[in-house]
């Protein structure tokens, strides 16, 4: 395979730089470095929060001080100095935030352009007439700076706004559900987020409403050394439906960036939430230098009967990924789904999977996980299927497939099954394969170059998951798989 190694070098040379690695120059309104009660108060005050919110944050901060980082994941995490980071940075603005896109710093808009956000979505972001209806709540360095289509959503009764605004405008709704799925003390990173979350998104779909458009948020990390602590809360009231898209890329950095987001979903009777993520944060260079540390807590509560929550994720970025989008199936006959493609290359490490907690009767879950490892990376699927004693008629199906590229990477599958109900039907299938030289040569002989061939074979491998993505994301995500694995054939 000497020729392949040579090709890899050439490709690395040509494409070694992270495509989306650039820094936008916007002055940040920093809080001082480090973390203490004063910083928590500073954040809360900056956002003009009510007392109950500050109390909630302080409670979280005090709890966090007594907690330790989880050690059970198959990850080699360098020590993180939590005092050596900024916990608040916002693009500088006059007054209390822009009222329309015209007031948005043009530098921000140029950033989205450079990111290659599809033209239709740029148009949406720019509010061009006749653009497809994908509303984008752009989160730029912790503060939402642009919200589009709010009027049309309002007509449907849908609330889609930054969580800071929601805390001020809909305090009762936020207070009722915030922390109801991921409690303050859930885990070290969720607890930290609860204390210092800077912004995020709030969505509420009223009873019986089918959200008229896909809701989409682009997350960006932009200020140096700024931890990103997003908080997302989506509540789907009885009989409603919403599809939410989250996508991210980040500028190149030398220093590691900590990210600890929390996403909470609540689905009431007969409601359905579809949450799709394409994650492409800076993964670090070939030797693993730089790159985002991504410690995310995502959990959905199927609170109502016949409710459904579906997670779809395409994870290609970050130096370290620690992420388990989960479903608590509380309502009878509720359904949880998890579709995942996780790609690791070079020195990336991912420990990701899901938890399906079956509490209600006749609840069902489906887990499809596709791990792709290349370079010297490590990719672990970690999943829990738990059936509680009273949950009769439970069914689960799990499929974990791993694809290896090269012989220096690792793929691991760690399924936990805890059933306290003998009637539960739980199926688990797992495969591990290598991308075959035969498949590669077949594609090359038909005229595809090496990268296109990898993209083709890998997208075939991940098809079951990719086809769950909304159209707006599917094409981008397919390209992303190819970009992430460039130069890794061998």
């Amino acid at each position: 395979m000497a020729a392949t190694a040579e090709t890899r070098e050439q490709v690395d040379e040509a494409t070694g730089d992270y495509k989306y690695g650039f820094v936008t120059e916007i002055e940040s309104d920093f809080a001082p470095k480090g973390l203490n009660e004063d910083i928590v108060r500073f954040i809360s005050e900056k956002k003009g929060e009510p007392q109950w919110m500050l109390d909630w944050r302080l409670k979280a901060y005090r709890a966090w001080l007594k907690m330790t980082e989880p050690q059970w994941a198959m990850l080699d995490i360098p020590p993180i100095d939590y005092q050596d980071a900024y916990y608040y940075a916002a693009p500088k603005q006059q007054g209390d935030g822009p009222k329309s896109l015209d007031e948005v710093d043009p530098e921000l808009l140029r950033t989205y352009e450079k990111l290659g956000i599809p033209l239709e979505e740029q148009k949406v972001l720019a509010g061009v007439e006749g653009a497809p209806k994908v509303a984008v709540d752009a989160v730029f360095d912790s503060v939402s700076v642009a919200t589009t289509f709010r009027a049309e959503l309002e007509k449907a009764g849908v609330i889609f706004m930054s969580i800071s605004e929601a805390i001020r405008e809909y305090p009762d709704l936020v207070r009722k559900y915030l922390g109801s799925v991921v409690p303050i003390r859930d885990n070290f990173f969720a607890c930290l987020n609860s204390a210092v979350f800077s912004d995020g998104t709030f969505v509420y779909i009223p009873e019986g409403v089918r959200c008229p458009m896909e809701l989409s948020t682009y997350f960006r990390i932009n200020a140096e050394n700024t931890g990103q602590f997003e908080r997302t809360l989506i509540v789907a009231d009885a009989g409603s439906y919403v599809s939410y898209l989250e996508g991210c890329t980040a500028p190149q950095r030398d220093e590691n960036q900590l990210h600890a987001a929390v996403v909470e979903l609540v689905a009431l009777d007969d409601a359905e939430i579809k949450y799709s993520t394409v994650q492409n944060w800076y993964p670090g260079d070939k030797d693993g230098k730089g790159g985002i540390y991504n410690f995310v807590t995502k959990r959905g509560l199927c609170k109502g009967k016949r409710s459904k929550i579906s997670w779809t994720q395409v994870e290609t970025g970050s130096a370290i990924t620690w992420k388990y989008p989960s479903c608590v199936l509380q309502g009878d006959e509720s359904v949880g789904e998890f579709y995942s493609v996780a790609v690791t290359n070079n020195r990336q490490q991912a420990d990701t999977g899901t938890k399906m907690i079956h509490q209600g009767r006749n609840t069902r879950s489906r887990i499809i996980s596709k791990g792709i490892s290349a370079g010297r990376s490590n990719n672990t699927y970690r999943g829990l299927v738990r059936v509680q004693a009273g949950a009769s008629g439970v069914r689960n199906f799990t499929q974990c497939d791993s694809l290896l590229m090269g012989d220096q990477c690792g793929a691991h599958t760690v399924p936990y099954i805890e059933s306290r109900n003998p009637g539960a039907q739980i199926e688990h299938e797992a495969t591990t394969s290598k991308i075959s030289e035969d498949q590669m040569f077949y594609c090359l002989q038909r005229g595809l170059d090496e990268e296109a061939a990898v993209e083709m074979v890998v997208n075939g491998f991940a098809k079951e998951v990719m086809q769950q993505l909304p159209m707006e994301f599917a094409v981008e995500a397919q390209k992303l798989l190819g970009i992430s694995l460039e130069g890794s054939v061998g």
């Binding site: 395979m1 020729a3 392949t4 075959s436 030289e437 035969d438 498949q439 040569f441 077949y442 594609c443 090359l444 002989q445 038909r446 005229g447 595809l448 170059d449 090496e450 296109a452 061939a453 083709m456 074979v457 997208n459 075939g460 491998f461 991940a462 098809k463 079951e464």
Partner: protein, 246 residues
Amino acid sequence: MLKIDDLHVSVDGTEIIKGLSLEVKPGEVHAIMGPNGAGKSTLASTLAGRDAYEVTAGSVHYAGKDLLALAPHERAGEGIFLGFQYPVEIPGVSNLNFLRTALNAQRRYRGEPELNGADFMKLAKDKAKDLEMSLDMLKRFVNVGFSGGEKKRNEMVQMAVLDPKLAILDETDSGLDIDALKTVSQGINALRGSDRAILLITHYQRLLDYVVPDHVHVLADGRIVRSGGKDLAHELEAQGYAAAVA
């Protein structure tokens, strides 16, 4: 069109092709026959540029270019098609998607405009129909769950759509029943033309009843030991390789 001069090829340090020379002109069909292990498939793989087939001496020129200097996908773009003895399965990728991506990659290589979805569908459907392949088959994943005969027919559909200048068909007739053999032969004959050439690699003479070659070569132990017209194939069939190359 294709000029092979004193070619030596090794695989894992073992020499398989030991000084092979052959010239193929536009419009010609050459059959390369020979016993198992003679180096027939090695020749096909080498011409297509497969890794691990190391050319230790000799040269190959194709359409005035040094073929050995081109990467496999560039050779495809230059119009070389290899019909695989064992077509490969690609789960999750439909035949249509595979073929359209391949065709447009080749067109880009040649500086031609890409074919849009509608034009491509028309082309693929027409070619599939000629080869008695249904639209359903085209929508299925590449070769996944196909019978041996279906895989070979799929190769012919790909060849018809990609429309190569030089087709190298490696044991395309193996494992086919008589009906499939006729269909596949039709596909090959349809490609014949004054500006194209076909290299048929085969173990048996029976394909040559349907695709009549201009030249027949016998490959044994890495060299061409006899060349002749189409009658040579019949002689081989009657007397066996041992007698023919003695």
